[in-house]
């Protein structure tokens, strides 16, 4: 039956052409429907993990900076202590050599004798730049993933405004059926537009996350290696402070009667012991914060991969991001405790041996 009908149509060239156009129309419609179905999968990404990640990066960066500042202070104390003890000569470590016209100064021995705390200050400047660049990246990433960027409400407004304008124009120029309202642009068209933009946003997010993974890996590795250096530097400074206190305690004991003398009544001896205990508390808190920061920086690369997985709609429980969030809070608590005035060792009161 069908064949007969076609045969009959085929007799007329005009019908033949119409059929060809109809076929093409159906094909285009099919492609259009398939395209809309394809786009319909482009839902907005979940912004929450991006925000959590951004917060974790910021918290970790801030904490690392605070530990660095604290360690710089300890290192400065240590340097002053070594100069006063005589184990380091001031002129060999602090007499700066200027280079007129080059706008630079050098530490003695071509910078070889630069005290650690100066190096820590330089490190801090670099770390701040690193953190700033990373912070900006994760912030913008969060914006790119954000609901506000491709807001469905905006598109609904666009559709309504356009519909209203079109209907108004149609009425004015007397288009038939304008009274009932013509939805030429319509909410549906606006939705297709939104989906197209959403598709573009997802593609951009995916590319950026893939391209930036090596830089994030390297950044985290750098921060872990800095934490390791800070751990060592802290141990040196703790040693110096603690050993100075022990030497001082020994002097007090010798001054007040020797090794077997009961020092219960000695305020000097008690103060030294108190200082030592306070020093230990501060040192422990700093070491804990370094350890916690190491946990964060070890997990940050995995968290970044989880963001990519979520954009690619692969199943992810965001374990690393959840851990990051928890560890970030822990790190903040440790540092807040350390910052409390009551837990600070009185500066300059540490007795040097």
């Amino acid at each position: 039956m069908k064949t007969q009908r076609y045969k009959r149509y085929n007799k007329t060239p005009a019908i033949k052409t119409s059929l060809r156009h109809l076929d093409r129309g159906i094909s285009l419609l099919s492609i259009g429907i398939a395209f809309v179905f394809f786009l319909a999968g482009c839902t907005a990404p979940d912004q929450k993990p991006f925000q959590q990640y951004s917060t974790a990066v910021k918290d970790a960066g801030d904490s690392l900076d605070k530990v660095l500042v604290e360690e710089t202070n300890w290192s400065r104390d240590d340097y002053i202590g070594t100069v006063l003890k005589g184990s380091v000569a001031l002129e060999k470590t602090a007499l700066l050599d200027s280079k007129p016209g080059q706008f630079t100064v050098l530490f003695p021995a071509n910078g070889q004798n630069q005290p650690t705390f100066y190096q820590l200050q330089d490190v801090r400047v670099t770390l701040l730049s690193l953190n700033q660049a990373t912070g900006k990246y994760v912030n913008v990433l969060s914006t790119l993933a954000g609901k506000d960027l491709v807001n469905p409400d905006t598109f609904e407004t666009i559709a309504k405004d356009t519909d209203n304008s079109m209907n108004s124009i149609a009425k004015k120029i007397g288009v038939q059926g304008a009274e009932q309202g013509i939805h030429i642009f319509s909410v549906g068209s606006a939705e297709v537009m939104r989906l197209l933009i959403e598709h573009r946003r997802r593609a951009a997010l995916e590319k950026i996350l893939v391209d930036s993974q090596p830089a994030i890996d390297e950044y985290c590795a750098k921060c872990v290696s800095l934490l390791s250096a800070l751990d060592k530097s802290l141990s040196i400074d703790y040693n110096a402070k603690a050993q100075a206190l022990e030497t001082e305690f020994r002097k007090v004991r010798n001054d007040e009667g020797g090794k077997d003398k009961d020092l219960t009544g000695s305020n000097k001896a008690r103060t030294i012991v108190e200082e030592h205990l306070q020093l230990n508390s501060d040192y422990l808190a700093l070491v804990h914060s370094l350890k916690s920061a190491k946990e964060v920086y070890t997990k940050l690369p995995q968290g970044h991969r989880e963001l990519l997985q979520s954009v690619r709609k692969q199943a992810t429980g965001f374990e690393a991001i959840r851990d990051l969030s928890e560890e970030g809070k822990r790190l903040k608590t440790i540092y807040d405790e350390l910052q409390k005035p009551s837990s600070k060792s009185p500066k300059g009161e540490t007795t040097q041996g």
Binding site: T82, S87, Q119, S129, T154, I169, I173, F185
Partner: protein, 115 residues
């Protein structure tokens, strides 16, 4: 030298320094002032060695970190460009709507003239 090797070397210096300091204390208690002074010099030297190790680590870190800044900046720029493009696309959609409204107003004005 791996990082673990470096850490082990530092730990060895740390242990030796601590031992030298304790020896200084013990010799002092025993009244051996010359021996104590000798032990203290060793403890100080070891402490300086440890500082040198940390200084070298910090210098190496500094050099590597500075090279990383442009890469991170580039990542931030790429993300910002993507945000701008998406915002641009949304703005284009809004312009279509605005153009329709402008056209409506223009027709309105035209009709008044015709009338």
């Amino acid at each position: 030298m791996t990082n673990d090797d470096k850490d082990s070397a530092f730990q060895a210096l740390h242990d030796a320094q601590r031992a030298a300091f304790l020896l200084y204390m013990e010799l002092g208690d025993a009244g051996d002032n010359a021996g104590a002074a000798n032990a203290q010099i060793r403890a100080d030297r070891l402490q300086n060695e440890m500082r040198n190790v940390v200084n070298k680590e910090l210098s190496a870190w500094q050099a590597g970190a500075e090279a990383l800044i442009p890469k991170l900046t580039q990542a931030a720029t790429a993300a910002q460009t993507a945000v701008d493009q998406v915002q641009g696309a949304v703005a284009t959609a809004q312009k279509v709507s605005a153009a329709m409204q402008a056209l409506d107003k223009a027709i309105d004005l035209g009709m008044k003239f015709i009338a």
